[in-house]
């Protein structure tokens, strides 16, 4: 966004309507704010109406410890060492924070499983087809968690969990305990299906892809020129991710009814009369 005449971007002949991530990353366009604010992402009309931010978590270091049992138990709303719900991929699973009203407007209850779809041009992978057996593995299915801290159109899923693979999906669907573990390698996934990478893409700015760009060495306290893994191969921090969210399964044990805690009347967005009184501090009276 600029009107500065000295900014002279090259669009490399790629039209402004191009939607593929690779095209959009290479193409540079200059527009003034007056025009940008009238421009709508064509995905919006197709139901892709949520931003998804993917911040780091304080419980792990990138993907390190993602499938440690106690970390899984602590990471989300769904940590359970006894796995009462056999759909859970491990002793916990990844989650998507969503504004309660936004979820309710789409028939999604707290704790339900939802499908998350990114830009269909290249996600979950290039050339996907619903009939493709790999599509089921790559399409993200994740638990929704109500959190009124988020604005209506903003969702959040912490970055760098372990992705579902064809073998982890096979484990999930064939093991008696339902865990998403690859039978031969023991690889444990944080998801039943899909991953954060189902809706995000890496961001490779053309200006970063040079042999001469200086940057901090990824694993040493010194400068380096050219290829850097953390600069050129960033794989969990998305450039953009406008997503569509649709309900997949009920949250209750074995997909029967709502997730148990929301039946109490003590959960965000579904408070009963006593909980509202308690939140406002009105269960105690002060005599002054």
């Amino acid at each position: 966004m600029t009107t500065n005449p000295y900014v002279r971007p090259d669009d490399y002949g790629i039209p402004i309507t191009a939607q593929h991530h690779d095209d959009k990353t290479v193409r540079n366009i200059k527009l003034p704010w007056q025009e940008i604010k009238r421009h709508a992402n064509p995905l919006w009309e197709k139901g892709y109406q949520f931003y998804c931010v993917t911040p780091k978590t304080r419980h792990r270091v990138h993907s390190q410890w993602s499938v440690n049992d106690w970390v899984q138990i602590y990471e989300s709303n769904f940590g359970d060492p006894y796995r009462m719900d056999k759909r859970t991929p491990g002793v916990g699973e990844h989650q998507l924070h969503i504004n309660p009203q936004a979820a309710k407007d789409r028939g999604i209850n707290d704790g339900d499983y939802v499908y998350v779809d990114g830009n269909p041009v290249d996600r979950p992978y290039r050339g996907w087809k619903p009939s493709d057996p790999y599509y089921k593995v790559a399409r993200l299915m994740i638990r929704a968690k109500y959190n009124p801290a988020y604005p209506y159109h903003v969702t959040m899923a912490k970055h760098a969990p372990y992705v579902a693979t064809p073998k982890s999906v096979k484990g999930h669907e064939t093991r008696p305990d339902g865990r998403a573990i690859a039978v031969d390698t023991g690889y444990q996934s944080n998801f039943r299906y899909g991953a954060q990478q189902s809706f995000t893409r890496n961001w490779l700015m053309p200006m970063h892809q040079t042999d001469s760009l200086p940057g901090k060495h990824a694993i040493a306290w010194k400068f380096k020129w050219g290829y850097q893994v953390d600069h050129h191969a960033i794989n969990t921090v998305p450039k953009e991710c406008l997503i569509r969210i649709t309900k997949a399964e009920d949250g209750g044990i074995g997909a029967r009814g709502p997730w148990e805690p929301v039946r109490t009347g003590f959960t965000p967005g579904q408070e009963n009369e006593f909980m509202i009184k308690w939140l406002k501090g009105e269960h105690i009276k002060i005599k002054v």
Partner: protein, 242 residues
């Protein structure tokens, strides 16, 4: 039932045993303002004490996000509701009396867990959490109360597509959206609910340092301590002596 003095409440209250105090009182202090709920203290506790069979669900040290978080789920709302049912509308703080040395917060005229317990024939009012309620130790981490815009219905979305930079937010000094982290371990209470509840007198407050302990040789697993500790910190291990 004897009466003991409780300086928090600024008055005497019912308690099954006579008032007695230890020589010293052991205590831990958490700085609530500095805590970011990284759970490192919980992990240290878990890896030191709670790694054996039957202890999978146990976290003696846990950090929960208030107001929705709680381990076991909603224990604090549930206890408050139980007392409310016994004493509807009667939980009153009298601050008209002013601050005194023996009553720094005024006088609490409502019911304690022991007062309410006497009404239902128990040492203290309480409940035993179900196995389902012990799940999800960090439930509703970082979850705030509803945005004011949503609560008051100013604008269902708070978001205007034509003018996306215009959001409806809170205005000072009102600050209705909140959450905070609460760090929890056994409080080693002056008047422990668990000790009052135990039918075997297996729980005692050690005279030299005030630590509240359970004597495993006397315990027969009635779980009255689990039921009547309002903080739900005594935890039952089903595999002991198996």
């Amino acid at each position: 039932m004897p009466e003991v003095y409780n300086w928090h409440l600024g008055r005497k209250m019912l308690y099954p045993y006579e008032e007695r105090h230890p020589k010293w009182q052991f205590a831990f202090v958490f700085n609530i303002n500095r805590c970011l709920a990284c759970q490192t203290c919980s992990m240290a506790d878990k890896s030191t004490w709670l790694f054996s069979k039957g202890q999978e669900y146990m976290w003696w040290n846990n950090v929960e996000t208030k107001p929705y978080g709680g381990y076991p789920q909603f224990y604090d709302v549930k206890i408050t509701q139980l007392i409310e049912q016994v004493n509807p509308g009667g939980q009153v703080w009298n601050v008209r009396v002013g601050r005194k040395h023996h009553a720094p917060y005024g006088v609490f005229e409502g019911m304690t867990i022991f007062d309410a317990g006497a009404k239902v024939g128990q040492a203290a009012i309480g409940y035993i959490p179900t196995d389902q309620e012990w799940r999800f130790v960090n439930i509703y981490e970082d979850t705030a109360t509803s945005m004011r815009a949503l609560v008051e219905g100013i604008d269902k979305t708070g978001f205007s597509r034509d003018e996306p930079w215009k959001m409806t937010g809170s205005s000072l000094p009102e600050h209705e959206t909140f959450f905070f982290y609460l760090q929890r371990i056994c409080n080693h209470c002056t008047y422990p609910g668990c000790l009052a509840a135990c039918p075997r007198k297996a729980i005692y407050k050690r005279p030299e340092d005030g630590i509240v302990l359970i004597d495993q040789n006397r315990c027969r697993g009635y779980k009255k301590c689990v039921e009547q500790c309002p903080y739900k910190k005594p935890m039952y291990r089903g595999t002991t002596r198996v």
